[in-house]
Symmetry: C2
Subunit: 307 residues, 2 copies
């Protein structure tokens, strides 16, 4: 297996990231493209194909050196058939047989999955949840994504749509969510919602970083905003802890950088509100692999499918 | 394996039920005792031991005809160590090594599990969810219990406490629950809570049966009560559907007998509020094995542990 590498792709609403990994998931090369300029679906697909060719060429490799290509995608996927159902934040994609298209154009093994699933795979194999059997992973960004590791294996659900922690309702009535539901966790703690709430209270634009810095300096308004975030997140997590009795919950994404303000609050809510047997056991951990988790997870996906 | 039988025990706050099953989970005999008279833990344990001896003797069998004894218990259990952590509705039980005690006194193989887990096992092997891979089971009674079948196997969680659907919070703030949490599903749709709500509105005592009969005759107040129940249950189930993407949800227990009033309402909430990929796939089914589910599940537990 010497001279064998994996190509990982992380497609987001803003960036297309491509990486060359060795078989121990070490980064050999990493490229970043803006996806904004690829308005049409076919242009974005061509950009993906070109990025793979480029990273192979720029590293003086040949296709025979590539074990396979793994893609993390921002929406629901039929992992078995390799079909993208749709992307909530990239228009023009509906039931696209992306795996077949890429296999045909790249002439390489191709594997697709949801980005949150791949993040969970990475954190559980190499990150914060290494060694744990039952793991719940969350990414807190504009969207709130999640993934579940059950008995050491990524659990994808009956139609590959499990793990949507952002769309657990935390109230019987509440704000309408883009998913069609209402009172979803995401509609309380998605980045944009937090920023809007903060702007209203501070009467100016304020970044997440400033919001956590202010809370550390005991600013009352910032403290109140973080308590509210922790309360909403904690409510969803109490339900998950009681339902799944996991070993740990791994929290990543921008909001996780707030640190103790968020984590201490959430831990306290779980300790006081979740059932004793579950609450005593579960660990609330910060994600370790940051932005690279998706790319590493795509690498794991390829490797585990071919071994 | 001719002449081999299983003894199943279903211990509840009110009744101790004991059954003799053949190896196809058919009932040969069934006995029922009130648990109210066994105030002390040791007396209840002796009653369990005696009931096993009785059912063996009354069926003209010997111990060598018994494959093993399975117990469904109303509280959190360490299934591996065979320890009862506590029973929410039977006082005096705290960290009781019940499996070891019974094995020593019965001289038979003994297996314990939570009653909701055994109901789930039974419904998934022989009942409403037969043939499905990912199944969520609920029993709606005084308590709201649940169990999860993941990839065809009973999922017990990291410390055997998974499946507590009754203790998923459905609001960020709400009534205090016996479990220590607040706004738990059980504190909205537990039988006693429903009865109390109904009494307030009807200004008299009213049974669950009458409440569903009234709703069928289009009584407005009864209709409103059932809508409220469906809304609370639906909110918790939307979260579960989005999180676990199961094949089906099986609902049993007293409230499930309301039939269409409950099921149509819940199905409509899931269709309109859960995410499309998950909502299209999931089936909401009525439990089939009724009160016997726990006894059958205890039989399956014994058989599967010894084969």
């Amino acid at each position: 297996m010497a001279n064998k590498f994996i190509i990982s792709i992380d497609l987001g609403g803003t960036n297309l990231r491509v990486a060359l990994l060795d078989l121990k998931y070490g980064f050999i090369d990493k490229l970043n493209f803006s996806t904004k300029k690829f308005v049409k679906k076919d242009d974005l697909i061509s950009a993906i194909v070109d990025s793979v060719s480029n990273i192979i060429r720029e590293n003086n490799l040949k296709k025979k050196n590539i074990l396979g290509v793994g893609l993390g995608l921002p929406g629901p996927i039929d992992v078995k058939l390799g079909i993208v159902h749709f992307f909530p934040n990239i228009p023009g994609w509906k039931e696209v047989a992306l795996k077949a298209i890429l296999k045909q154009r790249l002439r390489l093994p191709v594997f697709l999955d949801n980005d949150a699933n791949l993040m969970s795979l990475a954190e559980s194999k190499l990150g914060a949840a290494k060694g744990f059997k039952n793991v719940v992973c969350l990414t807190l960004g504009t969207g709130v994504g999640g993934g579940l590791i059950i008995s050491g294996t990524l659990y994808r659900g009956s139609t590959f749509a499990a793990g949507e922690i952002g769309h657990i309702p935390i109230n019987e009535a509440g704000p309408h969510c883009n998913c069609g539901g209402s009172a979803c966790l995401e509609s309380y703690i998605g980045n944009k919602v937090i920023m809007k709430d903060a702007k209203k209270l501070f009467k100016r634009d304020i970044s997440l970083e400033e919001l956590s810095a202010l809370a550390k300096r005991r600013n009352r308004i910032a403290g109140r905003i973080w308590s509210k975030i922790a309360k909403s997140l904690g409510t969803a997590l109490v339900g998950i802890v009681n339902l799944l009795n996991p070993d740990c919950i791994v929290i990543g994404g921008g909001i996780a950088n707030a640190g103790a303000i968020l984590f201490d609050n959430v831990r306290q809510i779980i300790a006081s509100q979740a059932m004793s047997v579950q609450a005593k056991h579960v660990k609330i951990l910060k994600a370790r692999l940051s932005d690279d988790a998706g790319l590493i997870g795509a690498g794991i996906l390829v490797y585990e499918n071919l071994h």
